[in-house]
């Protein structure tokens, strides 16, 4: 079942002549882990903003085409209505936290929805536990690390129990280890809670292995789309400016040099190591 359907979307920011999204059509199925990548300025963030109606409600501008979330047209709904369906997590953790304590921040969206205090308490504790920061609930935002701040941002979106969670480069302010931990949390949500994940990320090295739907964008268009195993061995990917995982590159080299590896493209070093062991034991 499709949870998001975008049809022939063209969007131009106000006061800009060139469209930032230039004829995008895509379908996201329920429970998918979608990875969106592409060079800087190709329109990834703009696309994310259309999923909960920030574009066109907050940003105005000119929009053509259709965005359907769970079968409903986003342009006819307010952003605060969409917030219950689609949760957005942004790049800079600092600018998404407004309250003076972690748990108050997680409760922010629920307070806005006018939820009762008992129900809110349950949801907040549930969300904090899910991302593993229950112990930090009474800390102030500046007392926790960047990685923890980003977890707070994720928890605050989760507390609203959306069907879809969209994360726009959630780890670009973090070191690789913290980033990896965040990705693990996101993957767990996808696997255990069945939440549809849309993740924008440059570092395919860390994330390609989680995804079952990869979208490569360039200049406001989608240029490649499909299973990451199929896409990443494509010759064009390298030319667009996408960071292909090192394991994938090494696999390609080995194949070219005639080493008898499994033809399936690996996405991370674990997968490649397994293939190498298999080849060596023959």
């Amino acid at each position: 079942m499709a949870v998001i359907e975008v049809r022939d979307l063209v969007y131009t920011y106000p006061g800009v002549s060139k469209p930032s999204i230039d004829g995008v059509s895509l379908t996201v199925e329920k429970g998918e882990f979608v990875l969106i990548t592409g060079p800087s300025g190709c329109g990834k963030t703009s696309l994310c903003r259309t999923f909960n109606g920030l574009i066109p409600h907050f940003y105005q501008g000119e929009l053509k085409g259709q965005i359907l979330v769970a079968g409903e047209d986003v342009t006819g709904r307010q952003t605060f209505d969409m917030a219950k369906r689609v949760g957005l997590v942004f790049q800079n953790p600092e600018n998404q936290l407004f309250a003076l304590s972690v748990e108050k921040d997680v409760a922010f969206g629920l307070e806005n929805l006018g939820m009762s205090r008992d129900e809110m308490r349950k949801r907040v504790d549930w969300a904090l536990n899910l991302v593993g920061i229950y112990d930090l609930r009474e800390r102030a935002p500046h007392e926790v690390s960047g990685g923890q701040q980003q977890r707070v941002a994720i928890a605050s979106v989760l507390a609203m129990q959306p069907e879809i969670i969209v994360l726009d480069e959630p780890t670009s302010f973090l070191d690789p280890l913290s980033a990896e931990r965040i990705f693990e949390v996101i993957y767990k949500l996808n696997q255990e809670q069945g939440i549809t994940v849309i993740l924008v990320e440059h570092r395919l090295d860390l994330t390609a292995k989680y995804a079952n739907h990869l979208i490569v964008m360039d200049k406001g268009k989608i240029c490649l789309e499909g299973n990451p195993h199929d896409i990443l061995c494509n010759e064009d990917v390298g030319n667009i400016g996408v960071g292909i995982p090192k394991a994938t590159l090494l696999h390609k080299q080995l194949k070219m040099k005639g080493f008898p590896v499994n033809p399936k493209t690996p996405l991370c070093s674990d997968e490649l190591a397994a293939q190498l062991l298999e080849a060596l034991s023959k």
Partner: protein
Amino acid sequence: MSVFDGLKFRKISSPIHNLDPRIKFIYVIAIFICAILFPQMLPLIILFIIQLPFVFIAKVQKQWIRSLRGAAFLAAFIFIINVLTTFFYNNYTLTFTNVESALAMTTRFIVLVESFSLFFLTTSPDHLGLAFEQSHMPYEFAFAFTTAVRFVPVMAEEAQTIMDAQKARGLELEKGNILKRIRNYIPILIPLIVSAIRRSMELAEAMESRAWGATKKRTNLYLLKLHKADYILISLTILLLIITIYTKLYVQIPQISELLTSLTLFAT
């Protein structure tokens, strides 16, 4: 960085910190009223002394003394002005009573500083924001307040970073006359303002994405509830007001100078 550390709020717990901020505020106002009602030295000294236990229970002596020290200059100023005006007004004579009433003015000011600093030293900003939210003020006020508290240290840090960056590029802040020095700050202010605007856009976007404005009847994770200590404080406050009004109406308050003279007379 130590200058900016002072801007960061800390959570401390003590019986005084845990009091309901609304009740504490009523107490501060009551002290304010009492201090205004008495022009004599003696009751003002008593008002000063009865607040001391709170300072010690809250364990904020150090910061509290610092705030009093900060007010010392203004207090001295009030004293001197008072003494001088009475001096010139009474044809260049000065009595003990005159000095004492000038001292009383100064003490009144100190009592006000004492109670206000006690309030702000023992009330955490999130508690205060909560009090705003739950006293039927528009939520936007409370939100503006907590967001300001939240982002002041962040922006202060940013200002420091920009300052360092511009200095590294050869900007000399402490050079030239006053006008030149003010102009030196422009390369710091502009990036700071630009970044503040960008930050506010991102904040607005994040707020929208978390259902800001979904309903007029916003709820709150926390509920301010009155505890035993709050009832004790409100009783003490009412008692204080009653005593004040009674004393004001029926008791002749002696001047300390008179007391002292009669005491010396008695001794001889």
